[in-house]
């Protein structure tokens, strides 16, 4: 049964090939069946493989397809590796992926690129599955770049707009910048450890490298570069808000649920390596904490519904990085899964809103949709509550709570990280409910067009359900739960040691966390519903307006990158279009021309002049040959 594993990435790949090769010749119905069906079948295959995995006592399982390459000692294979970690990731990708495909079948129905859309989506799912199932880093890189490509294609899906193309290229190039570090990291790892197989690599690393020494730190830092690019963390984060140019299901699947969390997955996958590089772990935690705060502030002032969600995605991934950084691998993965549920839910519901309002993205022009779209409202509310970690009833509470706890309690953590997370939780509640209030409450501002049909409603409903019950998987012991998810992953991701004495203050920390998220939500109601004039007042001050502008532009990173780096690059390339090296060649030509000018006066055209030259020459030779 575990052999079904190969089908999991193979089926979406086949779907992609069929759709790609048909080149739009298929009818919409057939496209939908192939596009959605292939991912659905992949989900079935994943369930079958997972069942087999359970039957065999959850022992890691490898499935070798063939030897990709065998040159000297470099023998990467096309081989899949299934353990608890990849099982979770595979489940999320196929499960959430299937739901979003189903949603897209209706959402995209009027688009002329229907077939192309599903081709790209299937390509993405296939590549993402290769990424999570890869047993060596080269195959992982294949999936890694594959999802990058699919992301590029889908951001630029509506290619008629040049801005979409710009956003797509920005996303690809910025993530590729991280990938360069990743590739160099592969070179270092292969050269030092002689393999790129993840399990062997980690084993060898632990055998030959001293914790904290140079090589694991370097390798960890380089691989981290790739993770930062892919997961839109500081300093390579600016592409994600622009990536919202793609269709909304794309934002849900790629830029919220799965691809952007690949960096989290990578770090967790290589936790054995990072354990040898505590400096890098600390760096990861710091980056996570800073990103989660910066993007939470940025989310506060966005006016585009999708950009709010994009910044919140960055912020939530910041939490996951924070968890990874403090060694709470399973907490990161748990949040990864739960985040996939509620963020996909939020995007899908947002998509329904956008479609209903005829492609309106500006939350300033929305409002009062609660009555007109009750289903969407309630779903969005559930998702928002999960995002803001509304206590006890939402899954987001349990996952974020775990991270906060670990950020404090882990030996690598500390009060500063915890405080950052807590502030983030407060801000999350604030910006989430600002969004909900602006979109769904207050007076209605426009008439709505079409309401989601059942193909869109079912995925939203299922995800809403998952956003609530997902938390049941991992209820901490403090609340009388069994923390089953953590235990399940403990085989792969070692359980967290605690700093001595922290157990005693756990209830206090929990209270603080609950207070932070509820406080954020409460403040949101206060500021945005009951007393909006206060916000206006702050905004009207010079400092307030500047701050809003600064945050709205994502802390100005874009200006730095685009205005300085990208402009310098493009400017140099344009200025040197004619290639200054060629000027050297032209210089040779000019030199010859100069020589020509010097010599042409000897060519008088007079025969007697030439005769004299001959005579002089003869004399010269005479002189040289005989007389000297």
């Amino acid at each position: 049964m575990r052999d079904a594993l190969v089908l999991v990435p193979a089926l979406p790949l086949a779907g992609f090939l069929i759709l790609f090769l048909s080149m739009g010749a298929l009818k919409r119905g057939a496209v939908a069946w192939i596009g959605v069906g292939s991912v659905g079948l992949a989900l079935v295959a994943a369930v079958v493989a997972a069942t087999g995995f359970w039957r065999h006592g959850a022992a890691p399982y490898t499935q070798t397809l063939y030897t990709w390459l065998s040159v000297a000692a470099f023998v990467p294979r096309v081989r899949f590796y299934l353990d608890g970690l990849s099982l979770v990731a595979m489940g999320v990708v196929t499960g959430v992926g299937f739901l979003i495909h189903l949603y897209s079948a209706e959402f995209m129905i009027d688009d002329e690129g229907y077939s192309r859309f599903f081709a790209y989506m299937n390509l993405f799912v296939a590549a993402m599955l290769i990424l999570v199932l890869a047993d060596n880093l080269l195959l992982l890189l294949l999936g890694w770049e594959g999802v990058g490509l699919a992301s590029y294609l889908l951001i630029g899906f509506w290619y008629g707009e040049s801005l979409n193309g710009l956003a797509a290229r920005k996303a690809f190039i910025m993530t590729r910048l991280g990938d360069v570090a990743f590739v160099i990291g592969l070179l270092v790892l292969f050269n030092r450890l002689g393999t790129l197989n993840i399990q062997d690599l980690v084993r060898n690393a632990q055998a030959v490298w001293v914790p904290g020494s140079f090589w694991p730190t370097l390798a960890g830092a380089l691989l981290l570069g790739g993770a930062l690019g892919k997961s839109a963390q500081l300093p390579l984060q600016t592409w994600l808000p622009d990536a919202m140019a793609g269709p909304t299901p794309v934002s849900a699947l790629i830029h919220a649920a799965t691809m952007v969390t690949a960096g989290v997955y990578l770090v967790a996958r290589l936790h054995g390596l990072y354990a040898l590089a505590p400096a890098i772990e600390r760096l990861i935690a710091v980056i996570g904490a800073v990103t989660l705060l910066l993007s939470a502030f940025a989310a506060l002032v966005q006016s585009d519904i999708k950009r709010v969600l994009a910044y919140s995605t960055m912020s939530q991934i910041g939490y996951m990085f924070l968890a990874n950084g403090v060694g709470a691998w399973s907490a990161a993965i748990f949040h990864f899964m739960i985040h996939a549920f509620f963020k996909a839910l939020l995007f899908l519901a947002a998509g329904a809103v956008i479609q209903a309002l005829h492609d309106e993205h500006d939350i300033g022009r929305m409002g009062g949709l609660r009555r007109q779209m009750p289903f969407t409202f309630w779903s969005f509310l559930i998702g928002g509550a999960a995002l803001s970690a509304f206590p006890f009833i939402t899954a987001g509470f349990y996952s974020k709570d775990l991270i906060l706890w670990d950020a404090f309690a882990s030996p690598l953590g500390g009060p500063a990280f915890w405080a950052a997370g807590l502030l983030g939780a407060f801000l999350t509640g604030l910006y989430t409910f600002r969004l909900i209030i602006r979109v769904f409450l207050g007076p209605a501002k426009s008439k709505i067009g079409r309401r989601p049909g059942w193909l869109m409603a079912v995925p939203i409903g299922v995800l809403a359900l998952l956003s609530v019950v997902g938390g049941l998987l991992n209820i901490p012991s403090l609340f009388g739960g069994g923390a089953q998810f953590t235990h399940f992953l403990a085989q792969v991701l070692p359980a967290q040691a605690l700093r001595p004495g922290v157990r005693a203050i756990e209830p206090d920390l929990e209270t603080a966390a609950i207070g932070a998220s509820l406080g954020g939500i409460f403040l949101a109601f206060l500021l945005f519903l009951h007393a909006p004039q206060w916000v206006e007042k702050v905004k009207s001050t010079v400092a307030g307006a500047a701050l809003a502008r600064w945050w709205g532009a994502g802390w100005g990173f874009d200006r730095l990158y685009e205005g300085v780096v990208a402009r310098a690059y493009a400017g140099w390339a344009r200025a040197n279009r004619d290639d200054f090296v060629d000027a050297g060649v032209d210089g040779v030509v000019e030199g010859n021309r100069l020589l020509h000018q010097l010599l042409r006066w000897t060519q008088t055209g007079h025969v007697r002049w030439y005769a004299m030259a001959i005579a002089l020459g003869a004399m010269g030779w005479f002189w040289l040959a005989v007389l000297s």
Binding site: V180, N191, G584
Partner: protein, 501 residues
């Protein structure tokens, strides 16, 4: 004998194509296809047969060997030999030859017979270069491939074809002359040492040379190969020649002629002057890295589509240079894979540029855009070859680049790390190409018919090969491995002078 037949078929086919031209508009093209296909079948027969089992001996892993005396007084013989490296290069050459004929189907309307004659004679010269193991014969073929190429550019090229053709000719000719001097120098050194006057490659291996003599002779060879490759700063002939050449000329220039430079480095520079080459390796690798980045930046700045693609060649061939001078199995395999993959991907991009120019009569990208809506097949092909050229894993170029980086890292970690930044730069230009040509708002004023079945088949075949190399590169690696091991063996322990294998 088969090695000789490969060349003779090209020569005879060229003349035949010229002669039959008056019969029918496509008569010469069909003759050219027949000749190329015959050659291709012969070479393919070798690839599935003896190439796999070639034994690695003291002098390499040659499985085809044919020699006739030519000018015995100077020790010059007509000596051809083939190993796995030659074979894959020949396969690439013949395949791209077929591609060139097919993409010129409608583009060439004047002097069709003479065009195909030149095409096939260029092919003959290239095959000779890949097969010759007599240095005089090698230099001879080196010039043979040059002259018909000059005609192809100068007669069927675009606006500034004459300047471009002359530039191409002078660069190659001067560097070839320097190589000829170095060949003669090497032969004389061998003569002085042993009293035998010979141009034979196997005899000249391991010629005892003083340190400075070896360096200077190697630089002489290097001059020709680095210009042909081309390495920065000797690359400036390439954008002009590629841009002005007709489509077939661009495809062959990029796909095949550049590879002769890399082949020369592999076959001659290292085996003949191992010590000097290793001493020079850091500089050459640095040149390779400069080429990778400089070519990519330059490509980004271009507005002429063919010029952009031409600069990507500089970038890609930088990887080859880096890989060759790293001289370990990983890097060499990478360099060879990169050569094949570059031949396919860049050849296809040139073909696409040619097809576009045929349709809209411009190469200026600012005048393009939104072509996906009008010609989705062409858009998909363009997208595919652009992402192949940016080195997406799963396609041939990635395998080549990654192996080169892996091998180069062992030779020089810093250079390999810098070279890795080529990945970003290549993404920048490749995506810019896609954006400017295929994406963006629609241009209703332009009529752009989509790819015809013939064109689709050609590009499709190239696509399949690229995917094949990316997904199952082992087939290529296995064919080349004996040759690479053989060459490495030569460099580590050159055969003793006077003892011939």
């Amino acid at each position: 004998m088969i090695a000789l037949w490969l060349i003779v078929i090209m020569l005879v086919g060229g003349i035949a194509a010229w002669l039959v031209a008056p019969l029918h508009r496509h008569a010469s093209a069909w003759v050219a296809i027949a000749a190329l296909a015959t050659d291709f079948a012969l070479a393919l027969g070798l690839a599935v047969g003896p190439a796999r089992t070639a034994a690695v001996t003291r002098i390499g892993a040659f499985f085809v060997n044919v020699a006739f005396p030519w000018i015995p007084r100077f020790g010059i013989s007509f000596h051809l030999a083939m190993d796995g490296l030659s074979l894959v290069m020949i396969l690439l050459t013949l395949f791209l030859g077929l591609v060139s004929v097919l993409v010129s189907w409608r583009e060439i309307t004047e002097r069709i017979g003479f065009f195909h004659f030149n095409l096939l004679w260029t092919m003959a010269g290239v095959l000779g270069v890949f097969l010759a193991v007599d240095l005089f014969l090698f230099a001879f073929f080196w010039e043979v491939m040059l002259v018909p190429m000059y005609f192809i550019i100068a007669l069927w090229g675009h606006e500034h074809r004459i300047v471009a053709a002359i530039k191409f000719f002078i660069f190659t000719q001067v560097s070839g002359l320097i190589m000829m001097v170095a060949i003669v120098g090497l032969v004389l050194a061998h003569w002085r040492a042993t009293g035998t006057l010979t141009f034979d490659y196997f005899a000249l291996l391991g010629t005892p040379l003083s340190r400075s003599a070896a360096t200077w002779l190697m630089l002489g060879f290097l001059a020709a190969f680095l210009v042909k490759l081309p390495a920065v700063p000797f690359h400036t002939w390439l954008p002009d020649a590629h841009t002005e050449a007709p489509t077939a000329g661009s495809v062959i220039l990029a796909g095949v002629l550049l590879k002769t430079g890399a082949y020369g480095l592999l076959r001659f520079v290292f085996p003949l002057f191992p010590d000097a080459a290793f001493r020079f390796a850091p500089i050459a690798m640095a040149l390779g890295v400069v080429g990778i980045l400089y070519g990519a930046v330059q490509a980004f700045g271009q507005t002429d589509l063919k010029r952009l693609v031409a600069y990507t060649s500089v970038s890609h061939l930088g990887f080859v240079l880096l890989g060759v001078f790293a001289w370990n199995e990983l890097a060499l395999q990478g360099a060879v894979t990169q050569m094949i993959a570059h031949g396919l991907s860049t050849g296809a991009l040139f073909a696409l540029a040619g097809l576009l120019q045929e349709r809209i009569h411009t190469r200026e990208m600012p005048r393009m855009g939104g072509f996906w809506a009008m010609a989705p097949r062409m858009g998909a092909m363009g997208l595919f070859f652009a992402i192949a050229s940016l080195g997406l894993p799963g396609l041939g170029n990635f395998i080549g680049e990654f192996l080169v980086l892996l091998g180069a890292y062992q030779a020089n970690a810093w250079l390999a790390a810098i070279a890795a930044f080529g990945l970003v730069a290549s993404a920048a230009y490749a995506l810019l190409l896609v954006q400017r040509v295929f994406h963006g708002p629609r241009r209703p004023e332009l009529a752009l018919p989509d790819l015809a079945p013939r064109e689709l088949a050609v590009l499709g075949a190239m696509l399949v090969f690229l995917v094949w190399i990316g997904v199952y590169p082992q087939s290529l690696v296995d064919t080349v491995r004996p040759a690479i091991l053989g060459m490495q063996h030569l460099v580590v322990s050159p055969p003793l002078l006077g003892r011939r294998g």
